[in-house]
């Protein structure tokens, strides 16, 4: 066990992928000389050279599309997009090409591409760098969407994502990069949700940056005698429905914590599935704790108010009468 940060864990995963397979290469804005805007790729250019660590022009559509093309051409590209907000410039390529090519071609052309991007708020970078749009991507069939929330998942999810024959989007919550800890063994699982805390009275479902929020809330609730089960979705598409539904069936109450906006959110999808599959086991309505429906404000107090906080989760759980 070594003490490191989420950023280090992700870099280790990238290094491993580059070492394991020659077809792997990295592409993105300022990932080379600059070292990555979140310093995830720092040092990799020196180690692997400019052919495999490729600085791109600020052309999201072209380099994400080129990643798709290179994947079609037999490579295993890992493309970094600075933030999910910027990924909208490549939305055409992700949705119309990456996600659709296998199906449109009747199974002939799969796209073994990994796209990493940062997501989420909490850093006072306002309305064009802070949003959580994972739910939009999770809406689209044909891609796999992951949200590593722990050091282990940052380290462990990349390689299976690279090996996966289909496009995989990895969302790294920007507030997690500095999270430090001992790296435990990683399982390399990209298909199932994880129970981060066991409990009996309520199921709190979270992913990415909100997993910490949920765990903190669970701690507070425990002091008041409420035992919470915290589930980290990990895979946002496909959703591991069985894990959170079976938990809700057992606890009879569920709260979904999602940094996306409430309307049409991934949280809404999770709620629907619980309602569809656990309705007769619910003892209270399923609640959502989401971001305020505003473009992310800059001022600290406003941003805090806009983002889901542990206290909001505690309040939501209490309101269910758990």
């Amino acid at each position: 066990m070594t003490e490191l940060s989420y950023r280090d864990a992700m870099r280790e995963a990238l290094r491993e992928a580059l070492n394991r397979d020659e077809r792997v290469f990295l592409m993105g804005e300022d990932i080379g000389r600059y070292g990555g805007c979140f310093a995830v790729t720092l040092g990799l250019l020196e180690e692997f050279g400019p052919d495999r660590i490729r600085d791109t022009p600020l052309s999201e559509s072209a380099f994400v599309g080129a990643g798709i093309g290179a994947a079609l051409g037999g490579m295993l590209p890992i493309v970094e997009v600075m933030t999910v907000n910027f990924s909208l410039l490549a939305l055409d390529q992700i949705v119309n090409n990456a996600a659709a090519l296998l199906y449109m071609s009747g199974g002939q052309f799969n796209v073994p591409l990994v796209i990493r991007m940062s997501t989420g708020g909490g850093r006072q970078v306002a309305a064009q760098h802070s949003h959580s749009l994972e739910g939009w991507y999770a809406h689209v069939p044909g891609i796999r969407v992951l949200a590593p929330a722990t050091l282990e998942d940052a380290r462990g999810m990349l390689w299976p994502a690279v090996e996966d024959p289909d496009p995989v989007l990895i969302f790294e919550h920007a507030s997690l990069y500095n999270m430090r800890g001992d790296l435990a063994d990683t399982t390399g699982d990209i298909t199932s949700a994880a129970v981060r805390r066991f409990g009996d009275d309520v199921t709190i479902i979270a992913y990415g940056g909100t997993v910490r929020t949920a765990i903190e809330a669970a701690g507070t609730l425990a002091e008041g005698g409420i035992s919470s089960e915290v589930i980290d979705l990990r895979s946002l598409r496909p959703l591991d429905t069985a894990t959170f539904v079976s938990s809700a069936v057992r606890t009879h109450r569920a709260v979904v914590v999602d940094e996306g906006w409430c309307t049409g959110s991934l949280a809404a999808e999770v709620c629907s599935r619980i309602a569809e599959e656990a309705f007769y086991d619910l003892d209270a309505p399923v609640r959502r704790v989401c971001s305020a429906e505003v473009p992310m404000p800059y001022a600290k107090h406003l941003e805090d108010a806009a983002l889901p906080q542990p206290a909001d989760v505690v309040e939501a759980v209490r309101a269910l009468g758990a």
């Binding site: 599309g65 080129a66 290179a70 051409g73 490579m75 199906y103 298909t191 199932s192």
Partner: protein, 343 residues
């Protein structure tokens, strides 16, 4: 590095540089496309083909000329007006027709239809129906070859309308800055759907745009299959030899509507008639006839062979089967995928 307009447009007529046998082969290929598409019009009218059906009629020289100069290992990225590209590339007419009729025997199992023809054996990476959307893909395919140091060219077709998309500029730049082996083939038929080039581009000289990215750009008479083939061969070999991306502007014209039928309100009938005088098939066939290399009987023979091929394709498509509904979810994800959860 800018060899702007080094190709140029031939002032008049068709000059047959190679053998007459090869010219007849080119004619046959263009006729296959023409007769195939004429038949699809009828099938569309009878509702056997649905959705959009963008016809290549009038532009056959571009498809045939470009494809003739490629090698089997080269890759092709195409647009939604790609029946000609597919057939000229060597895809089975049966599979293309079956695709148009939505049959599982189709080249995309009936999943794609007219706009999304795919074929792995000929490295045909599809009809892309997002204008400009195929360009980044082609850049990536070329990047893969570049990284693997394979002497392979990726040809990317797009229309004049795509030049207005950001993806055109991003891709042109990225391919140029990385020196990737892409051959950009712009089929300039003067209309982005119903909007004339000079109504949507401030600079209507498209080669100039490519040249501004330091990409060698040539203008070619897209109604002259021999000129297209010649220019493409030169460009492709330059690309293959490490010359980086090249750009061909194929000046052509579609004789029919944007998709199946349209009222043609946006263009003058006389303009269509003028271009029809330069029908790539008629021009080559006349030239071959005038040179005494193609008799009426020869032409009839070719026509009836092609008709047989087309009817065989229709018979094949009609006899084809519909993909079972139980397969609706197949190929959303790869069947060897690690995940097992529901979509």
């Amino acid at each position: 590095m800018t060899e702007l307009r080094s190709g140029g447009i031939r002032p008049s007529g068709i000059e047959i540089d190679g053998t007459h046998e090869h010219a007849i082969h080119l004619l046959r290929q263009m006729l296959r496309i023409r007769r195939f598409e004429e038949r699809t019009v009828q099938l569309y009218s009878e509702m056997r083909i649905r959705g959009f059906l963008h016809l290549d009629i009038g532009e056959e020289a571009c498809a045939v000329g470009v494809m003739e100069s490629l090698r089997p290992e080269d890759a092709v990225v195409s647009t939604y007006r790609e029946h000609g590209h597919a057939l000229a590339r060597g895809m089975s007419m049966r599979a293309v027709m079956a695709e148009l009729e939505g049959k599982v025997e189709g080249c995309s199992r009936g999943r794609g239809g007219s706009m999304h023809l795919f074929d792995a054996p000929t490295r045909f990476y599809g009809g892309n129906a997002i204008v400009g959307g195929g360009l980044p893909l082609a850049v990536g395919l070329a990047l893969a070859d570049h990284l693997a140091k394979r002497p392979v060219v990726t040809v990317c077709f797009f229309g004049d309308g795509a030049v207005a998309e950001g993806e055109f500029h991003e891709s042109m730049n990225l391919a140029a800055v990385w020196g990737l082996p892409v051959l950009f083939c712009c089929e300039n038929n003067l209309y982005a759907m119903g909007t004339a080039l000079d109504r949507y581009e401030s600079e209507t000289d498209l080669s100039l745009k490519a040249a501004s990215y330091r990409v060698p750009a040539w203008e070619v008479d897209g109604m002259d299959v021999i000129a297209v083939e010649e220019a493409t061969r030169a460009a492709a070999e330059s690309v293959r030899g490490g010359g980086g991306p090249h750009f061909l502007e194929l000046r052509t014209y579609r004789f029919r509507a944007h998709s199946m039928y349209d009222p043609d309100r946006y263009r003058d009938k006389n303009e269509i008639e003028r271009w029809k005088q330069r029908d790539p098939i008629g021009s080559l066939s006349n030239r071959l006839g005038a040179d005494g290399h193609l008799s009426e009987e020869d032409l009839d023979g070719i026509e009836s062979e092609i008709q047989a091929e087309v009817e065989d394709a229709v018979t094949f498509a009609e006899a084809g089967s519909l993909e079972p509904l139980s397969d609706l979810y197949r190929f959303v994800m790869s069947e060897s995928a690690t995940g097992g959860a529901t979509p």
